[in-house]
Assembly symmetry: C2
Homo-oligomer: 413 residues x 2
């Protein structure tokens, strides 16, 4: 189908979803979950073809794993859809309401965004996750997945559309773009007449490409060069535990810490302790000149190390002269994702949380908590690292806009 036609149909579906009741949307989500389970073998067949093709093209094992579906994973996808059904519907909330001196009653009301575009890479589960979140928040969605997962995504999307039909909602509320070439993606990014917002989900290259090429408003997600700063007043036992967790509990994710900053007054005590704990967790260190003598087995850090999101068992280490020095380092190298101070000083905690400009700023807790589930949102569509519209974990609420409804009795100006 041509892209504009897809857009037109999604927009028509969005008009239906805009006024769909919570009960209707939940019934559709239940029907989708049932449909996914029912279609397990068809989805697995399609997935097997994707995997065979990927192996043929020499895809590496970690990516193959992300691409692979199993009956259990499909059950997980269906369970995810049911979990979204159980979440509160954000649409219709009156955010504020007041009467003006001239008698006008103004109600700022939460409404769906309309049509959401999702551009993502080779994880077929994103197809059902994103569709469920968009549907529950009253949005139609146009999905553009990676070439490697096209057969899997097509099978999943077709199962979802079957569920929508059965529940009496338009199947075009969930559309999968079957062309996976770059040109079509580039045209999708400029489809302002039909798409209200684009959310890229994937690596830094994908996100940069969307930000650079899109004229549709974009929500930038997921790049995280996160820091943990061990203040002069830190509890060093707690510091070791939090630093190891922030770095090594899951190094590949965006909320993992990449650089350790240590106040010079405690460097001689903190660094040997932290370096040992990190080493035991399998982390190798790249240290500034002043930190190096205290970190056994570390190698010198280059300027580039501080700018790198390793996504791996590697951590950069720097000794700083003061809290302000730490803040300045974070302002220079950070990506505005998650930043942490470890301290028992009230003043230092206040200063750090006020001065650091990031989606999430932690006092005495691991950066790994920046996550929709951990924040109590139930599910997330991504983590925004921009400041417009949404910042930090994005749940259902972040997939909505507002509308001012104004009631009068003939007021003129």
């Amino acid at each position: 189908m041509i892209l504009t036609q897809l857009g037109e149909r999604a927009k028509e579906a969005a008009a239906v979803l805009r006024t769909a009741s919570t009960a209707q949307k939940n019934a559709a989500l239940e029907a989708i979950a049932a449909s996914l389970i029912e279609d397990t073998s068809a989805i697995l067949e399609a997935n097997a073809e994707d995997i065979a093709a990927a192996r043929e093209h020499g895809m590496r094992d970690s990516l193959i794993d992300r691409l692979t579906l199993t009956a259990a994973r499909i059950e997980g996808m269906a369970a995810g859809v049911r979990e979204v059904a159980a979440l509160a519907d954000p649409v219709g909330e009156i955010l504020s309401g007041y009467r003006r001196p001239n008698g006008l009653r103004i109600q700022k009301t939460r409404v769906p965004l309309g049509v959401v575009g999702i551009i993502y890479e080779a994880r077929p589960n994103v197809t059902s996750d994103a569709a469920a979140l968009c549907l529950k928040s009253g949005n139609a969605v146009i999905l553009r997945g990676g070439k490697e997962a096209l057969r899997s995504n097509t099978a999943v999307a077709s199962s979802i559309r079957k569920g929508l039909c059965r529940a009496g909602l338009p199947e075009n509320a969930v559309a999968l773009l079957e062309q996976t070439d770059r040109e079509t993606a580039a045209r999708m990014m400029k489809l302002n007449a039909y798409i209200d917002v684009l959310i890229p989900r994937g690596g830094a290259g994908l996100i940069r490409s969307v930000v650079e090429n899109a004229t549709v408003p974009v929500i930038q997600t997921g790049v995280g060069n996160c820091h943990v700063y061990v203040d002069a007043a830190a509890d060093l036992t707690m510091a070791a535990s939090v630093v190891v967790n922030a770095k090594a509990s899951r190094p590949s994710v965006c909320n993992a810490a990449e650089t350790l900053l240590v106040h010079r007054d405690v460097a001689d005590k903190a660094l040997p302790l932290l370096a040992k704990a990190l080493k035991e967790a399998g982390v190798s260190l790249r240290c500034c000149e002043r930190s190096l003598p205290f970190c056994e087995g570390a190698i010198p850090a280059t300027e580039e190390d501080f700018a790198t999101e390793y996504g791996d068992y590697i951590m950069a280490v720097k000794t700083v002269d003061s809290l302000d020095d730490a803040v300045a380092h974070i302002a220079r190298y950070g990506t505005g994702h998650s930043e942490c101070i470890l301290t028992d000083s009230f003043e230092a905690a206040e200063a750090f949380t006020a001065k650091v400009d990031a989606a999430a700023v932690y006092v005495n807790a691991s950066t790994r908590f920046t996550d929709g589930g951990e924040f109590g949102m139930g599910a997330e569509i991504g983590i925004s690292t921009q400041k417009l519209h949404a910042r930090g974990p994005m749940g259902l609420t972040e997939l909505t806009s507002v509308k001012y409804i104004v009631y009068g009795n003939g007021q003129i100006r």
Copy 2:
């Protein structure tokens, strides 16, 4: 100064403003107002040069009027700055706060955006308006005005910077881009490292150019193809009053109505009445085939008329078969700005407000109320017609973002 240097300095200034107290910001606004009054003659001199050059280049009178400053207008600008000082500071508000099962305390806190870029046309008063709103909301601002107003804008900006200095805040919090060529503007639109959001203020051409060229997140403002729909159950006396007000009270602004939609059941009664009232207000009509016989002196409308934002004493008229027909017309031709239904039917009011997708939807009141002042925001930086971040009139709150501050006692995941 080179653009990146300007950006760097603005970013440094934004770091200071981020933690500036309300008292400091208000003192700076008072100092700026005083400075503008003090510099009246210098500003008028610069403005006279702009006007002379504009006349030489054959600028038309209405634009010259928008460019012209007088002592009274400068007093107005200073008064505007003082009004912003009197508004509540949005920064620091805790939007929500809760404790997670693991003891983490999460506080979603309102913070400044950082650096705001404003690209605008030939109204020098925007320079002080925008600077005051950005400053009060804790943002640094980079202003890029039109070539025609460069001398005036430079004088105003220099006066503002003097005020900032006197109040002990960084003068770089308000920067004026002195290069007014298109290439520099295009580079400013891609200055993602320094600018957090771009707000274009001006005509449709300027806004389109920013949307198409910017990689910095944009808030699209001010294009308004607004409709008034006279339902079968409308009070026709009220309808005449509201339609005339919506169209003719100030046709050049974006919240003025452009098209009148009338339900076929009342077309024979409503249209003669409305056409007469509009004619008396100086409005000429362009009618669909079915409306034409009821509107004295009207000419036939073309397809293009319904897509046009006249900004003038012209109105398109269409007879529709039903409320849904009106909603479909609005979905096709509207720009999502302000839409109105005139009706005494509860059901019709409910259906219209639910189905129409626009920033502001009115029942029995003029579209002309879509305005920050009229909505009680005190002042506005523009009217957003996009759905991301802000929709409708944008006041101080819409110039902010959020930050999650998370307090723990050693939590790991």
